[in-house]
């Protein structure tokens, strides 16, 4: 009798707990799981978007393995992500750290740093296109960057930033970081704000240096938040594409291709929906692996 009541209680408890996640799970199943299942299904077919679908098994995947343009695009996205993880997040952390302390104009900075993420891609694309314009008219540099470089004593640095295969991707990566650091900034700031001030007091009383405080108090407390920022950065950057479209249109030949632009190209330029779905599945798998590895590394760091 007692056993049965216990089990009933556990089942009732579990059901109650499950109710908490029920709304999320239902929406998720309808709007994600189902289309995802259809997408995996479609990756085994050859389809032009309209008309009959032809089952071709794993042909799309086999072709994908040998598709150099695809793997190059993943490398490009990885490069943009790397720049973001280092440059963008270091910048975001530094700014958040600076704003966490009581300094003047803190509120002003907090407001201003979030402007790039708020701006629509249209504005960002237009502005950067104008800044990076390589043309000249009437002996004047039209683009602001070249104009400044020329007039401030660095004429040899004048360059076709977006038109040169060597600099195009880096330029895009920097603009992407500029647009994105605002997110890392507010999330890191939120995390820094939840660190109990008493811990800092204790460290100061112990006579710890600024660096020691940073490594022994701040970083450990921030690790989960840092992990979130790292994962969000990786996911956001790997999936970048609108910025690329606005800055280099269909791309500098293939030097600025990223996975999402390849997927859209497969759908719209070459009308191969099945192939596009195969690309999406492989891409997703890679991202899952990367996130998994990242989490493992952070867990190890936590233990250290």
């Amino acid at each position: 009798m007692n056993q049965k009541a216990k089990i009933t209680a556990i089942v009732k408890d579990n059901l109650q707990n499950f109710l908490f996640v029920l709304p999320a799970v239902s929406i998720f199943c309808i709007f994600y799981i189902y289309p995802f299942y259809k997408m995996i299904n479609l990756s085994f077919y050859d389809w032009r978007g309209i008309g009959p679908m032809h089952f071709i098994g794993i042909s799309n995947y086999k072709e994908l393995m040998g598709d150099n343009l695809w793997w190059d695009s993943i490398g490009h996205a990885g490069y943009i992500t790397l720049i973001a993880l280092t440059f963008q997040n270091a910048l975001a952390f530094a700014l958040a750290w600076a704003c966490d302390r009581e300094i003047r104009m803190k509120r002003f900075y907090r407001m201003v740093f979030f402007i790039p993420p708020v701006l629509s891609e249209v504005v960002v694309g237009l502005i950067w296109n104008w800044i990076l314009n390589p043309e000249m008219q009437n002996g004047q540099h039209i683009g602001l960057l070249n104009h400044l470089l020329y007039n401030s004593g660095f004429p040899q640095l004048v360059h076709d930033w977006l038109g040169d295969p060597k600099t195009a991707l880096t330029t895009i990566a920097i603009v992407n970081s500029w647009k994105g650091f605002g997110w890392g900034f507010i999330i890191l700031l939120a995390g820094l704000q939840t660190i109990d001030r008493q811990l800092y007091e204790a460290a100061k009383i112990d006579g710890a240096s600024a660096w020691k405080t940073f490594t022994n108090v701040t970083i450990p407390m921030m690790l989960p938040v840092i992990l979130v920022v790292v994962i969000l950065t990786i996911l956001g950057c790997m999936q970048v594409f609108v910025l690329i479209l606005t800055m280099v249109n269909e791309g500098l030949v293939n030097h600025t291709d990223v996975p999402v632009t390849r997927i859209f190209s497969a759908m719209q330029n070459t009308n191969r929906f099945g192939y596009a779905c195969a690309e999406a599945v492989i891409f997703g798998t890679i991202l899952v692996c990367v996130s998994f590895i990242t989490k493992r590394l952070t867990d190890k760091a936590k233990q250290a």
Binding site: I30, R48, G49, I50, G51, N129, N133, P134, E135, M136, Q137, N138, G139, I142, D160, L162, G163, D164, P165, A168, M247, V248, N249, E250, G251, L252, V253, N254, T256, F264, S265, Q268, N269, T270, N271
Partner: protein, 417 residues
């Protein structure tokens, strides 16, 4: 369970309301006005719905096709092979009957080149029953433009009549600090168009089609000549910096702001230039031929067309509306509002002089949509990107020819045509 509830859809009933989907942001107001007029005249309500940009529009049409909820009237923004698929899936109605009615009065009022865009001829490779399946509401063609003031500044008295003169003119322009040429070659189709124009000039259409069939290789000397042309443009510094990442919108800005003396663009540019720089003094010319072997053919055809949903219960009303929309008066309204070339022959009088110059090119024009077959899109992509590679100096014409042929061989082997 949800599906069971949702499954009980009824077949749509005929009504006095038509739904029209389109992507043309600059014509939305004109369409709305005309729709209101039509409702006053006939009592049929036409709900004009705009979806932009065109990529989003295409996605919506594809998705709606699958869900079988396409509207009464819509456009298909894709290659002819995709249009064929729509027809074969029963989503685009055969309009030949309506076109031929009254001794072909509707058909004859429109430019033949425009109708050819959505017309499938006898023995077409798509297996579509021959007929006219779309209604063109305007025509466009792509030609070269030249800025008269800038040319005069460089001492050039008249626009070049052949390619060598064009290169010489470019040198003259550079000597006075003017960029010779700009075009939106960040958009592959426009680059493809320019290359195609010269391919026709160099080798003639038979050889081009033979190449698409796989009978001639891209490593053939004539194709190398096409690739070399771009190398020549690059070597002579004719092209504006950053041309391969330049969207057409930016190229139009550049020409309107007199940053370059020559441009390559479509007839819609008249509207753009007028808004940005009404005082721009420019003329229209065909791209200067490089060879005298075959005629150079520009691309010209219907700019935008609408099809009628074959499954719509209001098919006849939809056809009637499209007939009204392409009638002379309505075409004049559209042409005046947005500086587009009308598809109705009679409405061609009354457009601006510069548009008339554009219109002259329609007779010698061609267009991929009227060719017996098109190149495989993967090969086209390799071709266009290859030319971009030549322009930025990363590959030689020979290398690109080899690369494109490799893709072609692979596609032919897969039977992906």
């Amino acid at each position: 369970m949800l599906f069971a509830l949702a499954g009980c859809a009824q077949a749509p009933q005929p009504s006095n309301k038509l739904i029209l989907w389109h992507w043309m942001t600059d014509r939305n107001d004109a369409f709305q006005k005309l729709a209101q007029e039509y409702q006053q005249e006939t009592g049929v309500e036409v709900s004009v719905q705009l979806f932009a940009p065109s990529d989003s529009y295409s996605q919506k049409v594809i998705a709606a096709a699958q869900a079988n909820v396409l509207p009464d009237i819509y456009g298909i923004l894709d290659k002819k092979s995709i249009v064929a698929d729509f027809i074969k899936s029963g989503l685009a109605a055969d309009l030949t009957g309506a076109m031929d009615a009254d001794g072909g009065s509707w058909k004859n009022s429109l430019f033949d080149k425009a109708l050819a865009d959505r017309r499938f001829d006898e023995g077409n490779i798509y297996g579509v029953k021959p007929g006219i399946y779309g209604v063109p509401i305007d025509v466009t063609n792509e030609q070269m433009l030249y800025n008269k003031k800038l040319l005069a500044k460089a001492g050039i008295k008249k626009p070049p009549v052949n390619f060598d003169e064009f290169i010489n003119d470019a040198q003259a322009l550079k000597r006075v600090g003017i960029t010779p040429f700009v075009s939106g070659w960040g958009e592959l189709w426009l680059l493809d168009c320019f290359a195609s124009n010269y391919a026709f000039n160099i080798m003639g259409e038979e050889k081009i089609f033979a190449t698409y069939r796989g009978q001639v290789k891209y490593t053939d000397p004539d194709w190398i000549k096409v690739f070399n042309l771009f190398a020549r443009l690059r070597d002579n510094g004719v092209l504006i910096d950053g041309i391969v990442t330049k969207g057409n919108k930016y190229a139009e800005q550049d020409f309107a702001l007199e940053r370059a003396a020559f441009s390559f663009n479509g007839s819609w540019c008249v509207n753009v230039y007028h808004e940005m720089n009404p005082g721009l003094d420019y003329g229209v010319m065909s791209p200067p031929p490089i060879s005298s072997a075959f005629p150079l053919k520009i691309w010209g055809s219907a700019g935008s067309s609408f099809v009628v949903n074959a499954g719509s219960p209001n098919k006849d009303k939809a056809i009637a509306f499209l007939k009204w929309l392409t009638a002379k008066d309505q075409q004049l309204v559209l042409a005046r509002e947005t500086y587009n070339l009308p598809s109705n022959k009679e409405a061609i009088f009354g457009v601006s002089p510069i548009l008339e110059e554009f219109a002259k090119g329609m007779n010698q024009s061609t267009h991929p949509n009227i060719w017996p077959l098109n190149e495989d899109p993967s090969v086209s992509e390799a071709f266009d990107k290859g030319i971009q590679d030549i322009i930025i100096g990363e590959k030689t014409p020979l290398q690109v020819a080899g690369d494109v042929q490799t893709v072609k061989d692979r596609q032919m082997a897969q039977g992906n045509r």
